[in-house]
């Protein structure tokens, strides 16, 4: 009995050992297989990357894209793979996919800022202005020195007539770019300006905005800017139609609608729109609202009330050149001729500045011209701009 017992015990031990051996072998095998698998995976990744790179070098973008897509099943794509995938999409003329691949670039990648900048340009070319703006801003957050991204952002804000936001970016650009005249030229303009080459190639402002709206119908800034563009060409009905098709709750749309009515000399409709706008939250801090209100009041001969509205607009946006001219006009009409003359002289000085800067070369300006620009800016109490011009005069003088 005891033997049986001990026999049983012996078998059990033997089996246990066997099982243990088997387990160890399995573990070892698993480890080996795992290692082999790991090695194979790395081998595969390297192979796929090499294939992708080689295919890309050959210009075989379909194969390159296939390799990257298979690569994506193994791991998160690195910058180079993303770039190849993006280029492959571009080769298929699929700019949107290309932009989206660039947007996948990890932010800790050393080339992420460049990647987002390129994404911005692709999106701008597709007239996805809001997404392009985000891409440029993302690029600049990672690398504030990227002047091309900043230039593009300045142009984009000019296209959408977002003057105060544009000015902020122009000052940033001015600190970093060697092309200081170009940046100062944007500042010299009475309103938001689009720098040369600021639009997608081969397109005018109206076409660029029209396509942007086709892509993003809810883009209120683009709609408002296109309505402004059309009104500027006397195409009021088209301007109204563009505004009607957009998000009616937007302040930008309502303000543009008001501008249409004011320019059309429709004082009743202007008054109604002003009442509607007045009830909206945050509108009191909008300089344009007060300026348009002033325009309406001046057009119906209420010059003192117009001056109050213009004054509020000036508090919010002290730099507005067009506003200063309107203040001068209203003061002249109200009989305050001496103060009117100061305001009108301000606008005239800005006009002179615009003309002077327009004639300057992009590189080193004539120091005398730069000093004259500085003088005009001082006359307009725009010290920061004046200092920039004076510094430029010094630099230009030294260079000469």
């Amino acid at each position: 009995m005891s033997l049986r017992i001990s026999d049983t015990s012996a078998i059990s031990n033997e089996r246990r050992r066997h099982l243990a051996r088997l387990g160890m072998i399995s573990i070892a095998l698993g480890a080996v297989l795992g290692a082999i698998s790991l090695v194979y995976r790395e081998f595969r990744i390297a192979r796929l990357r090499d294939e992708a790179v080689a295919a890309a070098r050959r210009g075989d973008w379909e194969r390159a894209a296939g390799s990257v897509d298979r690569l994506a099943t193994y791991r998160t794509l690195d910058f180079e793979s993303i770039r190849i995938r993006s280029m492959a999409a571009l080769a298929r003329r699929d700019q949107l996919s290309a932009a989206r691949f660039l947007g996948m670039t990890p932010e800790n990648s050393p080339l992420a800022a460049e990647s987002f900048e390129q994404q911005g340009f692709l999106l701008r070319g597709l007239f996805r202005l809001q997404e392009a703006e985000s891409a440029f801003r993302r690029s600049l957050r990672l690398d504030p020195e990227r002047t091309e991204a900043r230039r593009a952002l300045v142009a984009l804000l000019g296209l959408e007539r977002r003057g105060s936001e544009q000015e902020v970016e122009v000052w940033e650009l001015l600190q970093r770019t060697p092309a200081k005249v170009e940046a100062l030229r944007v500042l010299a303009h009475a309103g938001p300006a689009i720098p040369p080459d600021g639009l997608p190639p081969g397109l005018d402002e109206g076409e660029a905005l029209t396509r942007a709206i086709e892509v993003e119908p809810e883009n209120a800034h683009a709609r408002a800017a296109l309505a402004h563009y059309l009104r500027g060409r006397g195409r009021l009905e088209e301007s109204e139609a563009i505004l009607s098709g957009g998000p009616s709750a937007s302040d930008a749309i309502l303000l543009e609608r008001l501008a249409n009515r004011v320019e059309a000399g429709d004082s009743d409709a202007s008054a109604r729109l002003l009442e509607e706008l007045k009830a909206r939250e945050g509108i009191d801090s909008d300089a344009r609202f007060h300026r348009l209100r002033g325009d309406h009041l001046a057009s119906v001969g209420k010059f003192e009330e117009a001056l109050t509205a213009y004054g509020r607009s000036r508090e919010i946006d002290p730099r507005g050149v067009e506003l200063r001219y309107r203040i001068g006009q209203a003061r002249l009409a109200a009989g305050d001729t001496s103060r009117a003359e100061q305001d009108l002289a301000y606008a005239s000085a800005n006009r002179t500045l615009e003309g002077l800067v327009a004639r300057m070369p992009d590189g080193a300006p004539n120091p005398a011209d730069a000093l004259e620009a500085a003088r005009l800016c001082r006359m307009m109490e725009r010290e920061r701009e004046a200092e920039a011009w004076a510094a430029l005069a010094g630099t230009a003088g030294n260079r000469r």
Binding site: A190, D204, R231, G232, R233, G234, R235, L236, V262, E263, A264, G265, S267, D295, A298, S299, V300, V321, E322, R324, Y325, R326, G328, Q329, L332, A333, G335, T337, A340, E341, L344, A345, A347, S348, N350, R351, G355
Partner: protein, 599 residues
């Protein structure tokens, strides 16, 4: 019918033949019958009209209707230029017009400026400007050769006035490189005396006008100049510009140097002295095109406003004794509503809003719209373009000649604008040829674009330039002449139904007989209307100096006060529409002090 107003020759047609001709003309080209004659008023002498058919019934406000009839009128000579792809800026600026009754037969004759070559081919009649004699019934005859008035250069602006006090209207033609002064010898022939008279000038003269700026009784001459150095000594452009990507075109004015205006003082014998520097006129430069001469600040002295192309407009306020001060910026007329310079071309002058002050409307470039400067008095102006509803309809046009004229006879000044681009930029979606426009005055300083209903002419795209205004068939309705590039001038016969006006010809009590600066204040059924005799307006053109006051449905003008620039006053009462009324400034009366005049 046809009795000469002054020194003109006897009419060659019998009264019956004239009436027949008028009726035939009406049938062919839409010439309207004239209102019946009326008794002369106290203080005024009736001038018999060349036509005598019954007038239409008056209406308070009728649809403006202008019918183009240049071909049947005999105006067939096209405007020419020597363009040939060189893009010299002068080629695209057009030439001026002048309405002048050179033969003093009571009918307005027509001078039409011609383009030219560089250097000029003055002997080649193709390049001569044309003088057309008004034969009545809206028919004109080319009398250029017999009048000796060919010019033969790029003709620009015109000015009409009696420079030597011989009772005949003379003609000044501003030109590219040289001006001409045609002295009217006998109502048939002219003699060119610019060199002798000291007004041959130099450079590129544009608009011009005669007016007695120093109050000495003779006509001084104000000449606007445009740009310097646009061509070299061989006549080739000094600067080349692209109008659109990769395509040559005419350069903007800022590619060249600005110019000063020139003021010539009449010595009293028909010769002139250049007083540009001593008068202060030469102190300011601009790219001047349009000119308005009127008392713009209400001080009883004639001022000059210059519309400037891409530089601030200029306003020369007359401070007396031939001294001027440039005050455009401080007066609010230098810039647009946004404080921007505009491409000022022509200027319409008149009381646009019925408040008794002279307003100015400047035509500008494509997308800029016109700029309406409302006169607030004392040399202050307010831009009211948007409120007047003129801004948006004019943004899609590039305007040149313009005039405030009461086309429908309702007592309010309507606005005519000649349009056309300077560059063919149609490849980039901009129009080259453009429709002209007419805006009806709704009262209260507001206008409505009535171009589409005003006649087929306003549906035709063309390159409009100068525009002159006057009653060419003496039917009491203002007609329009418009010069066009590469076409004969358009003659727009005013066929507005029911329009009735009082037409006044004012004769100053001075050697030149000028009445420029005179203000007329009419009362019609309790409504006040103010008009002026303006020295210059529009673009490169001289309009009829007679003053037209629409009755707007009333049967008569109740009272008319005429404030002569000398300070004298004439009051007329109960004027009925009919023949033009000649009013002579009283002589031998001491001028009342200017400040006593409620100007």
């Amino acid at each position: 019918m046809g009795r000469a107003r002054g020194h003109g020759r006897e009419p060659t047609m019998s009264r019956f033949a004239r009436i027949a001709a008028i009726l035939a003309g009406s049938f062919v080209c839409g010439c309207s019958p004239a209102p019946p004659p009326a008794e002369p008023p106290a203080g005024g002498e009736r001038i018999e009209r060349p036509s005598s058919a019954a007038s239409p019934q008056p209406a308070v406000s009728s649809a403006i209707r202008l019918v183009e009839c240049s071909e049947t009128a005999g105006l067939t000579e096209p405007h020419r230029d020597a363009a040939a792809g060189r893009y010299r800026l002068i080629e695209t600026m057009g030439s001026g017009l002048a309405l002048i009754d050179y033969d003093a037969d009571g009918r307005l004759d027509l001078f039409v400026g011609q383009g030219g070559t560089i250097p000029p081919q003055t002997e080649d009649p193709r390049w001569w400007s044309r003088l057309y004699r008004n034969e009545g019934s809206m028919r004109f005859r080319d009398v250029t050769r017999e009048a000796g008035i060919g010019f033969g250069r790029y003709a620009q602006g015109t000015a009409v006035g009696d420079v030597n006090g011989d009772g005949r209207d003379d003609l000044f033609v501003a030109g590219f490189g040289r001006n001409a002064l045609y002295l009217n010898r006998d109502g048939i022939r002219f003699e060119e005396i610019a060199e002798r008279a000291g007004v041959a000038g130099s450079g590129w003269a544009s608009s011009c006008g005669f007016a007695d700026f120093d109050g000495d009784g003779d006509l001084d001459l104000f000449v606007v100049r445009y740009l310097a150095g646009t061509v070299d000594e061989n006549g080739e452009p000094t600067v080349r510009c692209n109008a659109s990507p990769g395509r040559l075109g005419y350069c903007p004015p800022n590619a060249f140097a600005s110019e000063t205006c020139v003021l010539y003082r009449n010595r009293g014998d028909g010769t002139f002295e250049d007083v540009s520097v001593s008068s202060g006129i030469a102190a300011a430069r601009c790219n001047g095109l349009g000119l308005a001469i009127a008392d713009l600040d209400g001080d009883g002295l004639l001022d000059a406003f210059v519309a400037s192309d891409q530089s601030p407009n200029l306003l020369f306020l007359n401070r007396g004794e031939m001294r001027f001060e440039e005050r455009a910026l401080a007066s609010g007329v230098a810039l647009s509503e946004n404080g921007q310079t505009r491409a000022g071309m022509g200027v319409a002058v008149g009381d646009a809003d019925g408040d008794g002050a002279i307003d100015l409307c400047v035509t500008n470039f494509f997308e800029e719209g016109v700029t309406l400067y409302r006169n607030l008095g004392a040399g202050r102006f307010q831009v009211t373009t948007a409120a007047s509803r003129l801004l948006l309809p004019t943004r899609s046009k590039l305007g040149f000649g313009a005039g405030f004229v009461d086309l429908d006879g309702d007592g309010s000044l309507d606005l005519f604008i000649a349009n056309g681009h300077i560059n063919d930029v149609s490849t980039i979606g901009m129009p080259y040829e453009m429709e002209s426009q007419v805006f009806r005055n709704l009262g209260g300083g507001r206008f409505a674009d009535v171009s589409t209903s005003a006649g087929d002419f306003f549906r035709v795209k063309q390159l409009g330039r100068a525009a002159a205004f006057g009653d060419l068939d003496d039917d009491g309705r203002i007609d329009v002449v418009m010069s066009r590039l590469r076409q004969p001038p358009a003659l727009l016969h005013n066929r507005t139904e029911g329009s009735r006006s009082i037409v006044l010809e004012l004769i100053g009590a001075n050697p030149s007989r000028t009445a420029v600066g005179t203000r007329l204040r009419a009362e019609i059924s309790g409504r006040a209307i103010t008009r002026w005799v303006v020295g210059a307006s529009s673009y490169l053109s001289t309009s009829d100096r007679r003053v037209d006051i629409g009755l707007g449905g009333a049967s008569r003008l109740d009272r008319l006060e005429i404030d002569w620039l000398s300070g004298r006053k004439t009051i007329l009462e109960s004027l009925e529409p009919g023949r033009a009324i000649r009013v002579e400034e009283p002589r031998g009366v001491e001028a009342s002090p200017r400040d006593a005049m409620p100007r």
